[in-house]
């Protein structure tokens, strides 16, 4: 029994760590500028956690085997060692707080970055179960919206007020977002009904869209291509298929895309 | 203050805290249902009630934090002036508390003789009865007063859902009222059983109820300040 249990803990720890190292399942391929730091911090923590995990399981297994009852021997009455206790307390405290500080630096750099004035601004509004995107258009100003005007049947998903001149050139799409590559993007997240969460795995962007709030996130995509926007906060029955498409394209393509959309409207 | 008092915390850390009484305390602590009362029972009652009040405090702190957050969000926060009736209600509640305190003190003077505490049906001092009934009556009056105040407000068109301030007003006073109702049940129990409980048990229970009842006064004043003065 002791040996079997020891083996079990060792094997479990080995397999777990091995599958991480082999990266059979791993982070989606990175496609944003700030994501590198996040990945590094994740990997650093994962490695440290992995070491702690492995050592602890190995020790547990070893102790189980080594200290199995043998006949009528007595156990040792050893139950205190202040020096050891202080050492491991201080060591874990340093490890954890150190990680915390380092992690906070990564976080601050990501979250406190403001979109520069020339950033592309997109307003994204979640609703059950779709994403509504809005671009300010040529005037750079979003038109007025009013919840009373919302009418999904007429495709006025945001309640855009046509009486406002700034509203006329707003470009609206649903479940489709285009952005230029290598340019800062500022997204303003809103929600019409319940809380949603804007998640693009490859960009390492995840942020709740909360009704009554306008939450900003800033990022820069570094790869062109098509990505998926998923909802990461339970919002009702079809939460699992609240899917949007994100197209990252060259600057020129993006300008053209925006113009075409505006013209089509 | 008679006999058993709460030992200093230092005592609690010493082996054998509470001395010989500790063993007795294990009878359910409380002398309930004819079990022998013990010197620690009194402490147990007090501790129990204070712990209960700690949790009541957390409930109202939770509501308070909601109040503050909600007020900061502002907007349509339309504050209404305090209905004057609430001042009267406050006085009624304080008077009820004072009455209960008097009734509690009426018991404090009696030194239980050997046989007395264990026997049911000892007569209770008349002062106890009078003040207890006064406390119950005033408590009921307060609740009636609160109901009238609600009535007056709704007559002015201020309902639960009218604005955030009114929502909090009804919620907080309602929760306070529910807690008072609980206290009234305890007072009703004392009224009904006062002739049948052993003297020490009656005293413990009166004390515990009084702590709760006084706390409800403090809570009420706090709520008034929060609702109508805090800014």
């Amino acid at each position: 029994m002791p040996l079997a249990l020891a083996f079990f803990f060792w094997a479990m720890a080995l397999i777990t760590v091995a599958l991480f190292i082999a990266r059979v399942w791993w982070l989606p391929e990175l496609a944003s500028a700030h994501g590198g730091a996040i990945d590094d911090q994740l990997v650093l923590t994962l490695v440290l956690a992995g070491i702690v995990f492995f050592l602890a399981q190995a020790a547990l297994g070893y102790f189980i085997w080594r200290f199995r009852a043998r006949g009528s021997e007595r156990a040792s009455y050893w139950h205190e060692n202040p020096k050891m206790e202080v050492t491991w307390t201080v060591a874990t405290a340093i490890l954890f707080i150190g990680l915390g500080i380092q992690g906070n630096r990564v976080w601050a750099k990501y979250i406190l970055t403001q979109a520069p004035p020339d950033a592309v601004t997109v307003e994204v509004t979640g609703q059950q179960f779709a994403w509504n995107m809005r671009y300010a258009g040529a005037d750079g100003k979003f038109g007025r919206t009013d919840p009373k005007l919302i009418n999904d049947a007429n495709a006025n998903f945001l309640g855009l007020d046509e009486a406002d001149p700034a509203a006329h050139d707003d470009v609206l799409t649903q479940n489709l977002m285009a952005i230029p590559v290598n340019r800062p993007i500022g997204v303003i997240l809103r929600a019409k009904d319940v809380t949603h969460s804007f998640y693009v795995p490859q960009l390492r962007v995840k942020q709740d869209a909360v009704p009554g709030m306008g939450i900003r996130v800033t990022f820069t995509a570094t790869k062109t291509g098509e990505f998926e926007i998923a909802c990461a906060e339970l919002c009702g029955m079809q939460h699992y298929k609240m899917r949007g498409r994100l197209l990252v394209m060259s600057d020129a393509d993006y300008e053209k895309w925006l113009k075409d959309r505006a013209a089509a409207q | 203050m008679p006999a058993a008092t709460i030992p200093a915390t230092g005592d609690l850390l010493r082996p054998g805290a509470g001395g010989p009484g500790a063993g007795d305390g294990s009878f359910g602590g409380d002398g309930d249902g004819g079990r022998r009362p013990s010197p620690r029972a009194r402490q147990t009652h007090r501790l129990g009630i204070w712990l209960g009040l700690a949790s009541v405090t957390m409930l109202f702190l939770g509501l308070t934090s909601a109040f503050i957050v909600r007020e900061k969000l502002g907007g349509e926060w339309a504050e209404f002036a305090m209905p004057p009736l609430l001042v009267v209600n406050t006085l009624v509640l304080l008077a009820s508390s004072a009455a209960l305190e008097r009734s509690k003190r009426a018991l404090a003077g009696i030194v239980p003789s050997g046989a007395r505490p264990a026997v049911s049906g000892v007569e209770v001092p008349p002062a106890y009865n009078t003040w207890l009934l006064a406390a119950v009556a005033l408590g009921l009056l307060f609740l009636v007063g609160q109901a009238v105040a609600w009535q007056q407000l709704s007559a002015r068109g201020i309902y639960l859902s009218t604005n955030p301030h009114s929502s909090f007003f009804y919620t907080l006073t309602g929760m306070h009222g529910l807690h008072l109702l609980g206290g009234l049940v305890a007072l009703g129990y004392l009224t009904a059983w006062r002739g049948r409980l052993p003297l020490l048990a009656l005293r413990r229970r009166t004390e515990a109820t009084a702590i709760y009842w006084h706390f409800m006064d403090g809570l009420w004043v706090y709520l008034l300040l929060l609702l109508f003065v805090w800014k």
Binding site: L27, F96, P147, L234 | -
Partner: protein, 587 residues
């Protein structure tokens, strides 16, 4: 002190004895049976979930006959999935993990271990159980509510949970019943914890100083403190949420919401406020689930390693530190919620800080084994399993505590893996360890060791097979609370892993029948147990199995020793009972 036995007469009628009993031991068993029912319900619900996650499009004609609505058209509907998920989480967290370790074992053994004859307030104790029972009944009603069972998750985030049926199936009557049940449960938990605290502080036997209390008592004591101060805040939130639903108020519902093209006539509330109130309770709650398991594990490791718990005082300190810090970490559930990024930083640091006492406990457990003479009873196996699971679930906390890393991991299966291992399965292992350990005391008979070991092996292998792979899913971005993970290109490749997990789950769930059989069979047919079958030292082992109505009968326990005096050099036996004469240690 003669005549004590006569003072507390045992009730004779069936109803007073077994139904409306005020005996803490009967109440403890009532709680355990309630939890047993709940855990089975919860497990069956999880089987449904796993079924859909593995084969989302598959039709199940047989199930369709039983649940015509839940399987309308053949495959399980997404709302049925979400209802299963919500009820599973709620039942597990509240009715299993709060009920069994704290109210169940605590009720039975806390008074005995401190040398009391009952709880401080026995009638209140009975009331607490029956209030819990009502809460459970209402929760089961929610499962069958018109319009469906609630689908908002065990966290019931507003405004989804506040808007009513317009926001989706199950959000009408089902959601209301959910809130009512939780509110009732809050009240019951408050009353229980008040009783625990008073009993521990005031009813200890002579000589039972605080630092001679078993670590189980310390754990229950701290847990009760957490429950006493955390549940009222959930109650406050629940009341406000209920008023938003039925009273037209706007505590959590902002203005200008449009749900399914309907303008909602509310104004100005704050969805984040609900999250703050919920998690202020919610984080202490996860420690309410796990702390008693830690106490039980310390207790059992020491008993079967035949060694004193290593660094007893540090263990007590760590329990307290965990209890205290757990009040100031709740924001780690809200890193992506739109809360101020600076709050996130503060919560990140406090969260990592709570890891320190947790790590201390692990070190001390390992050190307790060092130099021991380990006896591998099934109870000990579960306790060792607990340590392993606690490590596995704990280390991933280092990642989730950092907002930057949480960007990738929040609301993914990584979180599901983390909390299942550390809060769910570890706590369940604590329960199993405790049950196998105390069963002889509670029922006077031994559980079958062979069956216990078979059950242990399948369960430990099973839970690792279920929950370890979820880490990989999470890192790869698989989102939780998804009724299926095949609607996205980046999720689809992970489907085989989901199928593997489901198979493992089915095997593990089926294996639990071994335990149920063992439990009920041993209750009637097990080998008779003596007063102290494990050669343990604490007070529950000086009295007959099962204990008499007033626990100690004519004995008045006087405590002379610490709780874990095993293998004391020079002593006659390898263990010294807490009540042994003081000179025992020197003999």
């Amino acid at each position: 002190m003669a005549g004590h036995a006569a003072v507390m007469e045992a009730p004779t009628g069936f109803i007073r004895k077994y139904i409306f009993s005020i005996d803490h031991k009967v109440i403890g068993i009532q709680y355990l049976l309630l939890a047993l029912f709940a855990v089975f319900l919860g497990m069956v619900l999880s089987a449904f979930m796993r079924l859909r996650l593995a084969w989302p499009e598959e039709k199940w004609p047989l199930l369709q006959q039983i649940f015509p609505q839940g399987f309308a058209g053949g495959p399980m509907t997404p709302e049925f999935y979400l209802a299963m998920m919500t009820m599973h989480g709620t039942i597990m967290v509240f009715f299993v993990l709060t009920t069994a370790p704290l109210s169940g074992f605590g009720n039975y053994f806390l008074p005995i271990q401190v040398g009391a004859r009952d709880m401080a307030f026995p009638i209140l104790n009975m009331l607490s159980f029956w209030i819990t029972f009502v809460a459970m009944a209402v929760m089961v009603m929610a499962l069958f509510a018109t319009g469906g069972a609630p689908i908002a998750g065990w966290t019931s985030y507003a405004p989804l949970s506040a808007l009513g049926q317009v926001a989706g199936p199950g959000l009408g009557a089902g959601q209301t019943l959910w809130i009512v049940s939780i509110a009732i449960f809050c009240v019951a938990s408050l009353l229980t914890s008040l009783n625990f605290l008073t009993t521990t502080l005031n009813l200890r036997a002579r000589g039972m100083s605080l630092l001679r209390m078993p670590l189980t008592v310390w754990a229950w004591f701290t847990t009760a403190m957490l429950a006493l101060l955390a549940f009222p805040v959930l109650l406050a939130g629940g009341i406000l949420l209920l008023l938003d639903r039925v009273g037209g108020t706007s505590f959590f519902i902002p203005g200008g919401l449009v749900v399914s093209d309907q303008l909602i006539p509310h104004q100005g509330g704050s969805p984040l406020l609900w999250q703050h109130l919920f998690w202020f309770f919610g984080h202490p709650e996860v420690y309410i689930a796990i702390l008693p398991g830690m106490g039980v594990t310390s207790h059992i490791l020491s008993t079967f390693a035949r060694k004193p718990v290593f660094a007893y005082k540090a263990m007590v300190g760590a329990i307290f530190a965990i209890g205290f810090i757990s009040y100031i970490v709740w924001g780690h559930h809200m890193f992506m919620s739109g809360m101020s990024p600076f709050s996130s930083m503060a919560f990140s640091i406090t969260t990592l800080a709570v890891g320190v006492p947790s790590a201390i406990k692990t070190f001390n457990w390992l050190a307790t084994l060092w130099g021991g003479q380990i006896r591998f009873t099934s109870s000990m196996l579960y306790a060792l399993g607990f340590v392993s699971l606690f490590v596995s679930g704990g280390v991933t906390g280092m990642l989730l505590a950092q907002p930057a890393v949480d960007v990738a991991l929040h609301d993914t299966y990584f979180v599901v893996a983390h909390f299942h291992i550390i809060m769910g399965v570890a706590a369940i292992f604590g329960i199993f360890a405790g049950l196998h350990f105390w069963f002889p005391k509670m029922f006077g008979r031994m559980m079958d060791e062979r069956l216990g070991k078979i059950h242990f092996w399948i369960t430990i292998a099973g839970v690792y097979a279920i929950f370890m792979p979820m880490h990989y899913l999470g890192v790869a971005g698989a989102l939780r609370r998804y009724a299926q993970l095949t609607e996205f290109d980046f999720l689809r490749p992970m489907q085989p892993l989901h199928q593997f997990i489901t198979v493992a789950a089915f095997v593990t769930i089926a294996a639990q029948l071994i335990f149920v059989f063992n439990f009920f069979y041993s209750m009637f047919k097990g080998k008779r147990a003596g007063a102290n079958p494990w050669e343990a030292t604490t007070l529950e082992w000086i009295i007959p199995s099962p204990p008499p109505h007033d626990n100690f009968g004519p004995i008045e326990p006087v405590v002379n020793h610490g709780p874990y005096e095993y293998s004391v050099p020079g002593a006659a036996k390898d263990h010294i009972m807490q009540t042994a004469p003081a000179e025992e240690a020197r003999r």
